[in-house]
Amino acid sequence: MIRYLLGRLGYGAVVLVLVTVFVFIAMTFIPSDAVDLMLADTGASEEQAEALRTELGLDQPVHQQLAGFLGGAVQGDFGTSFYTNEPVVDLFLDRVPVTLQLGLLSLAVGTVIGVAFGILAAVRRGTRTDGTIRAVAVAGLSVPNYVVGLLLLTVLGLWFAWSPPFVYTSPTEDFGSWLQQMALPAIALGTSAVAGTARMTRSSLLENLGSQFIRTVRAKGASERLVLYKHALRNSVISVLTLLGVNLGTVLGGTVILEQMFSLPGTGQLIFESVQNRDYPVVIACTIFYAGLFVVTMIIIDLLYALVDPRIRAAREAGK
């Protein structure tokens, strides 16, 4: 298990370094450099601009910038914002709790609804309910999550004259207010996960219900309900876990636009504002942090996977 964990961590580190390399190479394609944009309206002289470039390290070739960044990163220094002069790490860590709350909440919403739909479809397989659920699930996948958010806002605002509170409060401070603010974006984000989860739960349940093992349990006289919930469902957990990983990217990306829409002070808002301000150090670091968030969560899911399924654990400990 330890060796497996180390292997996954090594893999994660490689991927993150590659992301960093990609980011720095991509930055060289920017037509005019950051300093020009920063000083465009200030009327600063060319010497002042040069001085600033040197200070920011922009006069160095890419590989040196990259090496400098990686060197700093190892010590926890990911650069400082052009605008606020705060270390990027602090900016990001300040805001990451909001994003994580939103992400986890929407994954939970999507998974719970998806699994429920999946069970219903499997139990009623071949009936109209089954077909309806499939259509609804694909439809849910098709409405872009920010559109769901918009529609929810519109409908609730127009017909119920209700809109979520505008200023973010942390759950420890005022749980009710927090929930009111998180509910809509979480539902909006969660819908995208429903379709896949329902489909996966249904097919894996049906597969399990048809298996030798379940037939044995049935033959022993277990009730249909027991068979479904205790035995078949447990075996389906693994496939649902796999999907968590698939949904993760969508959900993390979706937080950017929904935080914007619902004015939640998360990392999505941070990166979006930095993009608009051309605050390059923040954009670079946030892109890498998002990849880091994704990689770390994938590793956690991989580990859960290994914990849930003893066969996988055995196979991995044996080497491959």
């Binding site: 993150l16 590659l18 098709s142 409405v143 519109t154 990217g249 979706g254 950017v256 636009i257 954009v283």
Partner: protein, 305 residues
Amino acid sequence: MSSDVMRSSLPPAGSPFEPPPRRVNPAAWWAGLKRFVRSEPLGAVSLALITIIVLVAVFAPLVAPYDPLLQHRTRTTEGPSGDFLLGTDDLGRDVLSRLIYGARSSMIIGVLTTAISLVLGTIIGVVSGFLGKTKDLVIQRVMDAIQSVPPLVLLLFMAVVLTPSIEGTIIALVIVITPSFNRVARAETLRIREEPYIEAARATGASALRIMTRHVLPNMVAPLLTMSSLLFAGVIIAESALSFLGIGTPPPTPSWGLMLSEGVRYVEMAPWMVFAPGIVLSMAVFAFNLLGDSLRDFLDPRLHR
């Protein structure tokens, strides 16, 4: 001798190689389409929907009742009526006409992005799977790296690098989508590589390039087609999201995402400004998702016998 030989030793009709070779057989395509419609009714519906969207996009100037940029200054935020079937926006522009022209942006970006990524991703996946070993490992880690950045975050990052334009949007989307095609193409390559007909081709002396183009590629058309349809849906969403955030298709070119973001501010006064593009966008995405879903079932050989 059994029927095995009897049948084919019958005298050939006419000259030995009639009928003449025909590369694309319209009859076979038609028959395939009919089979698809019969076994996947939902898929047929989605195909019809997509055809309509594409036709509307192509013939937008003929279909649209008004110029999408024309501002009817006296009739701003007017609800649906006989003059303006879906109402007007805050500047008095016809929402329906803007939707029709918006289909153009979405389809152009969707088609180009999907086509370019399909070609790129397939080449990368096939070559990587075929080379194997260290080269495969390096290529796949790079692909993993791109996929580890959530799509929208990567698009935001690319928005800093590229100037906002249709070309910029396409380049950014291609970078985001290509790894998915790579993944499918590589998995298929690894599967097909083990097929006996690949060994047979090697035994005849065929080069690696020939084997990839003549043997490996044609046998992965089905999964790539399915993937194209599903990713097309994703591209439409992503394009609209970028426009919504104001870093995609630059205004005033009508695009669904842009219309949504303009509508947000007027939700209370003119809800149709949000509902119309929201529903049309969702319908388009739904059609492509459903088509992909049906294609997957239709083309999966395991589900046939």
